[in-house]
């Protein structure tokens, strides 16, 4: 079995999902469905609710109302089945600076009950091209290397669904290309990713959901859509169709 192979991709579905923090509706009645093996991009300006939505899908945030299903089963935060099925990469690496790259992965592999954890850790380190740095500490890593190690952590337990929150953020062009090449090996998974990089997002995703002010504003089948064409749709969806968006990047 290769690093990329796993059991079977799962469908993800949200129905009228809302998350309220005090008076703020971070996510407001969002519904969508992601087919197995589909790659869907969540696009939207900062504060649109993308990350909250992804954290709800990861089981880290409980929705205030609405339901999320994973492979047809209700997603309940803390449910072991959810955590076995989902791999998550966020802005933060979720790594310990005082454990080496290998030790970090081994800790998470053990928590996930991965069979033959030592071999699996070496396999994912190899998959993200970090085998040569396995004994080094993440504190010595660049942002790009930390992101790769974070991806390795997310892949350890062969998740059926990958949730990637801004995977390209803060990376230089070479690191973006490296990460994109690694992700190419996981096209058979159900993937949801958020990104501000419209060009990269359009090239990677089958479909785009535009979210703004906590609401789903558009659902676009990307097919042969060009980045320029999608940008027009995107700007219209977030209410900025005059070529500027009030200083808010996509």
């Amino acid at each position: 079995m290769t690093v990329a192979s796993r059991s079977m991709p799962l469908a993800v579905r949200t129905d009228d999902v809302t998350k309220v923090y005090g008076r703020v509706r971070a996510v407001d009645g969002v519904s969508f469905a992601v087919e197995p093996s589909e790659t869907v991009g969540l696009f939207g300006p900062n504060g649109a609710g993308k990350s909250t939505l992804l954290r709800m899908l990861a089981g880290l945030v409980r929705p205030s109302s609405g339901t999320i299903t994973l492979g047809g089963a209700d997603l309940v935060p803390g449910d072991h089945a959810v955590h076995r099925a989902v791999g998550v990469v966020t802005h933060e690496s979720m790594l310990y600076d005082d454990l080496s790259a290998r030790e970090n992965l081994r800790f998470h592999a053990d928590l996930h009950g991965v069979t033959d954890p030592a071999a699996r850790c070496e396999a994912v380190l190899d998959a993200v091209n970090l085998s040569g740095r396995a004994s080094q500490y993440p504190s010595a890593f660049s942002h790009g290397l930390r992101k790769r190690l974070s991806l390795a952590r997310a892949l350890l337990h062969r998740p059926d669904v990958l949730l990637l929150d801004e995977p390209y953020a803060g990376l230089d062009q070479r690191s973006v290309a490296d990460l994109a090449a690694i992700l190419d090996g996981f096209d058979d998974r159900t993937v949801l990713l958020t990104t501000h990089d419209l060009t990269r997002g359009v090239s990677r995703c089958d479909r785009a959901l535009v979210v703004d002010r906590g609401r789903r504003q558009a659902d676009v089948d990307l097919g042969d859509t060009s980045a320029a064409a999608f940008e027009t749709t995107y700007r219209r969806a977030i209410g900025v169709d005059d070529g500027s968006n009030g200083g808010e990047g996509p």
Binding site: H80, E103, F107, G113
Partner: protein, 224 residues
Amino acid sequence: MRSFLAAVLRIVRKDLRIESRSRRVTTTMAMFALLIVLAFAFSFVKTVRNPAVLGRSALWIAFVFGGTLGVTRTATVEADDAALDGILLAPVDRSAIYLGKVTSTSLFVFAVNVSTLGATTVLLGYTPTLRTALALLGVLAVAAVGFAAVGVVVATLTFRAGLDELVLPLLLVPLVVPVLLAGVELTAALATGAPTESWLRLLVIYTAILLLAGVATFDFVVEE
């Protein structure tokens, strides 16, 4: 049950490994505890005639304030780069995560208490008999568990809610007052041979309540 205990042990082992490398938690706590004992030595050693009174006062003040620093540092390890989220994403009972954190924090607090006890002997002339010292270590061990039981919950809550670190002692200290009170009274009773049963019962029962409350609430504390 085996996987539950295995998860607890994995978290403890990870914390001990991190601490053995960084010594961030124990060094901070030990330095602070030592400063308290030194302050007692400079301020009271010539005026207070009874070293037992001085010793137990310094010991328990160092316990509370050193322990508060300790739980803050332990929680910081999990808050940095959202490391706790990584654990929460694993198929592990959240009560196992809580008990793992309580166990490692208790070990850190207890280890520093033992060194503080040594410092009170050297600097304040507090010399309990061997029997009293062993009983006192038992009291410190239970108190450390009680302190960590509530400390882990409050520290995690503080960091996850984005509250200032300074809020932590304000929330924590009132909750550990019964532990402190029982600890001080038990230390005095052990030295004078007074009955210890009622205070010991208070310490053990309150610690058990804190642990059960922590197990019951940790899930809500970590959930956004």
